[in-house]
Symmetry: C2
Subunit: 122 residues, 2 copies
DNA sequence: CGTCAGTGACTACATGTGTAGTTTCATTGA
DNA sequence: TCAATGAAACTACACATGTAGTCACTGACG
């Protein structure tokens, strides 16, 4: 049932996942380093996220402090699963195979992943 | 510049990637096994894909035959790259690590991926 | 030859998304 | 005290998307 987070909203979430709580202005300051958006745009996104209960608000005098209510990890798990399901029939192997074939994996990547898998088996 | 393919459109593409060219009715027949859509819906999706030049049309009497103009592999590469870039800073390792931590990888998966990586190094 | 079924073309319409502008209200500095 | 400032709330608006409905045409069948 977890609410959908759009691309633009995601950029805002990344800021809050780094540091929170923040005011809208502080979030906008950070977001603007990446995206060329106006303060109003960021505020709209924050409102939408709050409406979806993906971020929480806490009154601080006349303004709000925003904090994520969803863990970044949980979010990533959700979208990753969805992604792998939709595009690779739910199997991770074809995804890795595809990335490998498409030369998206460097030798370093391969070594790191092998290392990781070795750890996992313990 | 490659045109965006929406989720619903993607389901249609999967059918055409399996076999093509097909008529709209044939595509719909296949799609309906997965999604509970009407023939009209599938036709709309085909039109939109054709408008975006993601599928090509060839007149066959009074109807059309549809074929993909985009390779499945190229499409997958595009979306995978985009996905990994947006969510994992362009690195595949964190993605695999994440899936692993989230217990999305079975022991079989791990073995298969190791096998694949071993092959790659040759 | 007239009718019907199948086909593409066009239309529809609610909701989501990107991207703000405008309004209203309270606080604070002069 | 009063005006300017800054914050949230509300409004806007075009385009994308999911999900069809309707229309007009044409060829096949009786």
């Amino acid at each position: 049932m977890s609410e959908r987070i759009s691309d633009a909203e995601h950029a805002v979430m990344e800021v809050l996942w780094k540091r929170a709580p923040l005011t809208a202005a502080e979030v906008a300051d950070q977001v603007v380093r990446e995206k060329d958006w106006s303060l109003q745009t960021v505020k709209t996104l924050l409102s939408r996220l709050a409406a979806k209960a993906v971020v929480g608000t806490e009154r601080d005098g006349r303004r709000f402090l925003y904090s994520p209510l969803v863990e970044r990890d949980d979010y990533l798990t959700g979208v990753s699963r969805n992604f792998v399901d939709r595009l690779f029939g739910g199997k991770v192997m074809p995804l890795v195979a595809h990335l490998a074939e498409a030369d998206e994996l460097s030798a370093d990547d391969i070594r790191e992943i092998e290392e990781l898998l070795r750890e996992l088996k313990k």
